[in-house]
Amino acid sequence: MLTLKLALRTLARRKGRMALIGALVAFGTFLVVFGSTFASSAKAASKAAIIDHFTGDFILYSQASKDLPSPFAFNTPLPLIKDVEAVEKALGGMAQVEAYAPYAQNYALIQVERGGKSFDLPFIFYAVDPDSYERVFGGAGRSQTGFFGRAPGASAPEAPVQGIMISSYQNDQYRKNFGFSLDTGEKVTLLGVTEGGVNAFPSRLVGIFQPEHFSSVFDYINFMDARTFASVYDYSGVQSLPSSFDSGLAASSGGDDAIFALASDPALRTLDVSKLKSEALSGATMIAVRLKDHSSVDSAMASIAATPSLGVKAARWDAASGFYAQIASGLQAFIYLATALVFLVVALIFMNTLVINVTERTAEIGTMRAIGSDKSFVRGLFLAEALVLNLAAALVGMAFAAVAIALAGSGGIMLPELVSQFLIGGGSLPLRPSLGPFVLALALVAFVSVLATLYPVRVATSITPLKAMSER
């Protein structure tokens, strides 16, 4: 009580100097609270945006792949997922799963004729099943024709709409580079470059879209429906042959004679090719999985890992989104670093001020020591002064931060367009207030107070009672 009384009155006596320190601490606290809230909100919004638009909660990809999947990589195609249907069936049986969407990235050429001349327009695209893609990612953005004929919120058209959709930016690029743009409904020929040559497939442009999020990405990415994709890249074949035929083939691997012997194999003799069904393979290299609850991502991924027969492995949203997931973390690190620097400066100024205070109070401290105060009393006195001042200033800083968060909370914070696009896919950043930054700020201020007091206290406790006697 005595210590606290002395601390409060000493602070009041040096109010000009201490108010300056208090203002610095309050500013630092404001930065911690507002900065942490901003950073954690940006991180949460970035996560939500990436999950909502690129990856889902995690991406399944072929077990044979040596690379992580990335929705942004178009130059290193992943191996195909062998049995998409089996994976879909497994996902359908998982209670945590809300929706999933098989998709692939690739590039192709759009062949069109203008004025009797043929033009090959390059484009990169996501090959998607429009239904499942819309369930997971909500489509591609604004389009007069909807996402493959699906108006937002409306049910899927009875007849599947097949073809390609391109971004309006892409269309502008065509105009700029080729002198013309494409029109919705226009017939085109798609050229798919495969190992066996170039496949040509007649198709049409079913829509032009304007991305609503991540235009920095989706301006460049177009869409092709999965059936068209399978045709362009020849992802079609026959249903599995009878097991007896497979075993006959396996037995024939001994040499040429054995192959010819297959002719007399009963399995081959009984094979009725006309009864085998042709089926379109998906060509999907990734399956984005969306969960009902984001927090169950690890358990859902563990379930997949426990079923190796599916032939897929899982990459969490942050691993799959690479650079984009790092932006928010980088921003958070920058804010923490800036805050730490501010507090370092505050700590140095505060320490310097306390040392000046100690020097000015040499006689007072010496007197206290002479009349019976031990070193721990002097130590406690300076610590109390530091804590009282800084915690009071921290409360002021927190109050300002709370007001600023409340003011920004309703409409969110407007960010520069470029930052907004890369961080959260565009738009303003809603702030999510939480107790964490306030607790962090208090702990940080307490820590800095103690730290900044160490040296001045050492100077103060080294003052002997002789100083009181020598004071004239």
Binding site: T367, M469, R472
Partner: protein, 229 residues
């Protein structure tokens, strides 16, 4: 038994590269209840002697015993406690704590002892405040008091723990002669009433006359010991 015993006490200081012999072999005994002045010119060693009596400095050589305890054998913590319980200090510049008022300054040593109730502390402080004639100044801060009043507060603070010895280093040096005399008279009255040992340093002849015993020192040696002229 003497409350203060000095035996062959020497005290040297280093002043830069120069060795200063502040005390050069002092033998002295001070009895309980004494009212003693240490007299001598500036630099004679008066303050050094008081520092040794007050356990805030240790001799370079020789023995200092306060109330039978060899001071040099005590740790810093023990010396602090010893000062708190046995010794009261009155400083030349009063050395009141600027942020505390009169009442609180006097109460301060009692709060350090931590073994007294608020009521007990109040009783002790109030009695001394009346004794030094500052009953109407309890709420005043030191800067609101005259020099004489501040020294009265310092006297009350030094006495409030009922110490064995009260040390006063030139207690009248910053006061005018009339006020200084009144302060010494006050100290003497308390000495007579409470039987508290008072040791004060001075080079003021008028003040010296109030002492029952005067120890004169010069160049670190005792050159006289007796009643003031």
């Amino acid at each position: 038994m003497p409350v203060v015993e000095l035996e062959g006490v020497k005290k040297n200081y280093m002043l830069g590269q120069t060795k200063v012999e502040a005390l050069r072999g002092i033998n002295l005994e001070i009895e309980k209840g004494d009212f003693l002045a240490i007299a001598g010119p500036s630099g004679a060693g008066k303050s050094t002697m008081l520092n040794l009596f007050g356990c805030i400095d240790l001799p370079t050589e020789g023995s200092v015993r306060i109330d039978g305890t060899e001071v040099a054998s005590l740790s810093d913590k023990e010396l602090t406690r010893y000062r708190r319980e046995k010794i009261g200090f009155i400083f030349q510049s009063f050395n009141l704590i600027p942020v505390l008022n009169v009442y609180e300054n006097i109460e301060f040593p009692l709060l350090l002892k931590r073994d007294l109730s608020r009521a007990e502390r109040s009783r002790l402080v109030t009695r001394l405040v009346e004794e030094v004639g500052l009953g109407d100044r309890l709420k005043n801060k030191p800067y609101e008091l005259s020099g004489g009043q501040r020294q009265r507060v310092a006297i009350a603070r030094a006495l409030v723990t009922r110490p064995l010895i009260v040390l006063a280093d030139e207690p009248t040096a910053n006061l005018d002669s009339q006020t200084g005399l009144r302060i010494v008279e006050l100290m003497r009255r308390i000495n007579e009433e409470e039987k508290t040992t008072f040791i004060f340093s001075t080079h003021d002849q008028h003040i010296m006359r109030e002492a029952r015993r005067v120890v004169s020192i010069l160049d670190g040696l005792v050159v006289g010991d007796g009643k003031a002229a």
